[in-house]
Structure formats: structure tokens, C-alpha cells
Amino acid sequence: MTAISDREQLSYIAAQAADARVNVELETEGMTLNIGPQHPATHGTLRIVAKLDGEQVVAVDPVMGYMHRGYEKLAEVRTYPQVTTLVNRIDWVGSFANEVPFILAAERLMDVEAPPRAQWIRTILFEMSRIANITLFLGDMGLQVGAVTPAFFAFRDREHVLNLIEAATGGRFHPNFDRIGGLKDDLPAGWITETKRVMKKMRQYCDEIETLVEGNEIFQTRTRGIGVIPADIGLSYGLSGANIRGSGVDWDVRRDNPCGLVHNETDWKVWTHPDGDSFARFWVRLQETRESTRIIDQLLDNIPSGPIMAKVPRIIKVPAGEAYVETENPLGVMGYYVISKGDLTPYRVKIRSASFNNISITPWLLKGVYVPDIITILGSLYFILGDIDR
């Protein structure tokens, strides 16, 4: 966890300056390169129009909207349980986490609190969706840099977590398990023992990735010093999650502003890294996955017993008001601003998705980097298209 050395940083800057000199001498013409929308390297349908000068980027303009499905308009004509079904599909890799802030906002407006057992199981599933999401990232980051093998590892090990989520909720992803006032069902028998076993396996997987990817020389050369984001710029763009913690900002909504989730009942720590480069972001996410497994282990030991669902009417009409709840989702901070006028359907739902802000920094960040580094930096920022485009 050492900071990038001055020598490495200087050598990168010298290489860029050398390129600039070559470009001036040769008087090259700029070229516009269009990456996407269908491209094996982008995480979905993101189109990046890059103006190049030789191998260096002069300006970058991400074009999005290829997955824009109109969530905010659709949420106005669906009832609250129907919106829950829809909202699962925003961040489609760690999907239980999408439902939670919406349900918490609706519960705040209805002034209903879920019983303790439901809160604990919600937190467990929330952390499991984080593991499911970030394991994919850990394997995928290798793919961005050029190593194909970690991706297969990722898919294989994710299956264990997805099996558990399916056993509890019925769906591998898109569980649609959260309800206003609690959860849909209780846990099946034997789930707790099985989860403990799987968490041990996930820790082994993290160790594997540490040796295979993080310790790899090529990976380190390609990610150290690349895509450095200073902390105050990151904050003013609204970066969140591991992206901002990789720049040294100690901010985690699970610890600072938990509403209805019980992370603070356990003993856990927030990981930060001072460098702010792509390696730091990868490292923070790896540590967070391990931390999640520890949180789940502690929560499993102490689940309270009791009812799963509070008393709510069958047809849910939420009283008038406005509420904003944000939680620390796997991709960053996700929040829902729900305005209700007392109807069956919400009046306005503003979805604050993490990847939208995370990617808004790319026009600033990608100036002057080389073309292969575009892919690495985008991979380290880790977005999901459904989260950007909603």
C-alpha cells in the first residue's frame, strides 16, 4: 500500500511530454475515435467519442442514453410495490441494494419501522449483493487490463453467492424481496450455516484475486499512477463509494448516516487509500469485499428472532410528504427522493444513481491519457449502464 513513487510519476509525465514533442514535430492531424456503443470493453452500451492526437486523448465526450428506459416517468404510474419490482433493475448486478433506499424512504413517509429481524436480514442481503457486485468487478478489472482468466474465476465464485440469494428470495438477481414494513418471507432452514460456509469461500476468492491480479507486475504497472483523482475535485463532481475512498476521503454512509440498516451493530472498518489512482480504487474494493464477509458473519451470529413484517395495510397509500434516503450501494451512494401526495403511486421519484456522478468526471479525468488507459480508468471507476442511464 505504498504511494506511487515520485520517480514513477515523473517518468509518466516525461513520456507524455515526449509524445507532445513528437506530435508537434510531425504535425499530426487529430482523429476522432468512437468507442462503442457496442464494444467488448465497455460495460454495456456507453459510447465514448474521443478526440485523439496521436495516441493521446485531447477531449472525451461520453454519449449515453442507449439504455435510458425512463424510470422516473414510469415510477409515477406504478404503485409502490410495483416500483420496487422495477427499481431492482437499475444496478443490475447487485440488485437487492437498489430496493433498500426506496423502501426506506417510503417507510419514512409512512412512519413505519420494520421489525428488528427484518432489518438484520435486510442488512445481510444488502451486504451479499455488495459481494455479488464487487466480485464481478474484481474479475472484470483483469479483463480491462488484458487478463482473461480472472473473469472466469469471478463468474464461478459469484455462483455461490447467487445460489444463496436465490435460496432466500427466489431470484438470482432481481430478488424483489423487500416490502414496505419488512420482507416478503423468512429465511429457509439451513441458510445460516450455508452462508457461513460460503463466506469462508469468498474470503478464499479474495485471497486468490489478491495473488493473481493485484500482485501481478503487469497489472500494477498499468494501474499505478493512472487516473489520479484529487479528493476535492472528486467531491465537487459527486463521486462516491470506493472511488472517493480511493482518494483518501473517509466517508461511508453506512457508518455516518444509517437509516434502518444495522451495520453499526457490528465491528467493522472503512477502508481508504491515499493515492487516488486506479490501483487504489481496485485495492479499496478488494478490502471492502473481505470486510463485507466479516460483517455478514457477525450479523449471522446475532440475528434476533421475531416477526418479519410490521403491520401495514394491504393496499399501500403513502401519506403526503417528501423524503430522501441514501445508502452505500456497491457502486457508490444511491438515493431516492420520493415525493408523495397521498396516492397509491408516488408523485415524483428522483433516483440519484451513483454511476451517473462517477462517470461525469471522465471529460475532466481523461484529458491527456493514452488510449489503452481510457479502458483501464473506466474499468476502475466501475459503472453499470443501468445506473448511469436509469
Binding site: M64, G65, H68, G70, E72, K73, L74, E76, V77, T79, R108, E113, P116, R117, Q119, D186, D232, I233, L235, S236, Y237, G238, V249, W251, D256, N257, G260, V262, E265, P304, S305, G306, P307, I308, I315, A320, G321, E322, A323, Y324, E326, V333, G335, Y337, I339, K341, D343, L344, T345, R348, K350, R352, F356, N357, S360, I361, W364, D389
Partner: protein
């Protein structure tokens, strides 16, 4: 269902303070700085704080929040359309109110505003966070008939894309924005989708039948169950 028992579960409710000193102090400092510019404010103790400012002091409020109060984190910016939808959506009704349907004229079209009030049909609202103290504020501003307000890009560069989205979804314009191109919608798209009078055409053609079992489940000869 598990047995009902009250064990030693750690209770979640922290005693919500009746007086929220941190948030009240925020409101006081805003009032001191903006004076007439702060039109209305609302504090939900222990939970959240809303502030509505005038159009002229929208940019000043952002600058003060960033440099004076330590709210360096820009969360989001968007708009609200307070006019009730002319295409009513009552789940008790058997059909959506379609174009040409008489029920449409009975829908109440008076504009009611939410927390911290408002005037006019459209509002822009934004959310800022203070990562050191863990506080967040929501700022609202009313737009006049010309739907124009200052852009925040000079203060928070992250507002760039949010304002582009609000502009194409509602038709707002932000003075001082480097380039209000459409963000999500294809270039041939006409209209502003998030306005309440923009219809969802698929629902006009085939209205949602409500919470009924449209077809009998196989083997259900006698009783159909409402789901």
C-alpha cells in the same frame, strides 16, 4: 412465521431530538447570509432540512454552501413539475383516463406544493452533502414563466450533466452552462418527457387493467382469487 418474542434486540430508534441544533444553525447561517433571498425553510428534526431560495440568490446560495458551510459534495440536481397529471392514475378506476375520456375533466388541476412551499409550476431542487459532519441539505428554487435559472457549473462542476438532463426532461434553461446538449434522448425526440402533460402512449392505447387476474389460473374452475 417465527415465534413472536421480544428478546434483547437492540432498538433502532435514537431519541429524535426535539430541537435539532445542527440543522437549525444551518438555517440561521443561511438566513444571515442571504437575508431576503431565503424564502422558506423546513427542518425535520434529526432527519433532514429543506431550504427554498429566490431565483436571484440561487448561485449565491451554492457558493455560500460550498465555501462558507463546508458542503463540498454535490449530490444531484433535478426538477419537479407540480401540476397534477391530466392523465389520472387511480388504481381504483378500471382504466387509465385516456385521451377523449370524459373522466379527464374531473381531475383536479390545482397546483399544490410540497415541503418548503413554492410558487408556480416548476421547481429546481438540488442536494448537497457535508462529508465531514454527515449532514445534507436540499435547496429548492421556483422558476418563473421563462423556466430559466443560473447554472451551478462554476461552483460545482458536477452539475454539468445534471443540468443537461433537467433541461431535456423539462425544458429548463440554465444561464451560464457551457453547452446544454441533450444527454439521454435521441436527437429526433420531441417534447419534454418528465412534464406531467407528456403522455405515456402505450398506456393510452392499452390501459392497465388494474389488480385483477385477467385469466383464470389453470385448475381454478370455481373461485378466482384476486391477487
Amino acid at each position: 412465521m417465527s415465534r413472536l418474542s421480544s428478546t434483547d434486540t437492540p432498538t433502532e430508534e435514537e431519541a429524535a431530538p426535539e430541537v435539532d441544533t445542527a440543522r437549525n444553525e444551518l438555517v440561521a447561517r443561511f438566513t444571515a447570509h442571504l437575508g431576503e433571498g431565503l424564502l422558506e425553510s423546513h427542518v425535520d428534526p434529526g432527519v433532514d432540512v429543506w431550504l427554498r431560495v429566490s431565483r436571484e440568490s440561487w448561485l449565491e446560495a451554492a457558493e455560500f454552501a460550498k465555501s462558507g458551510l463546508g458542503f463540498g459534495y454535490f449530490s444531484f440536481l433535478s426538477g419537479i413539475d407540480w401540476m397534477p397529471s391530466p392523465f389520472g392514475r387511480d388504481m381504483d378506476s378500471s382504466i387509465d383516463v385516456a385521451l377523449g375520456n370524459d373522466e379527464r375533466s374531473e381531475i383536479d388541476q390545482t397546483i399544490q406544493h410540497g415541503v418548503a412551499g413554492g410558487t408556480g409550476r416548476f421547481q429546481v431542487f438540488a442536494r448537497l452533502n457535508d462529508v465531514v459532519n454527515g449532514l445534507g441539505i436540499t435547496l429548492k428554487v421556483d422558476l418563473g414563466d421563462d423556466l430559466t435559472v443560473d447554472s451551478w457549473v462554476a461552483v460545482y462542476p458536477g452539475a454539468n450533466w445534471h443540468e443537461r438532463e433537467a433541461a431535456e426532461m423539462y425544458g429548463f434553461s440554465f444561464t451560464g452552462h457551457p453547452g446544454l446538449r441533450p444527454l439521454y434522448l435521441p436527437s429526433e425526440f420531441e417534447g419534454h418527457p418528465l412534464r406531467k402533460d407528456y403522455p405515456l402512449l402505450a398506456r393510452q392505447m392499452k390501459p392497465w387493467p388494474g389488480i385483477v387476474d385477467v385469466e383464470k389460473m389453470p385448475g381454478d374452475d370455481d373461485e378466482g382469487d384476486d391477487s
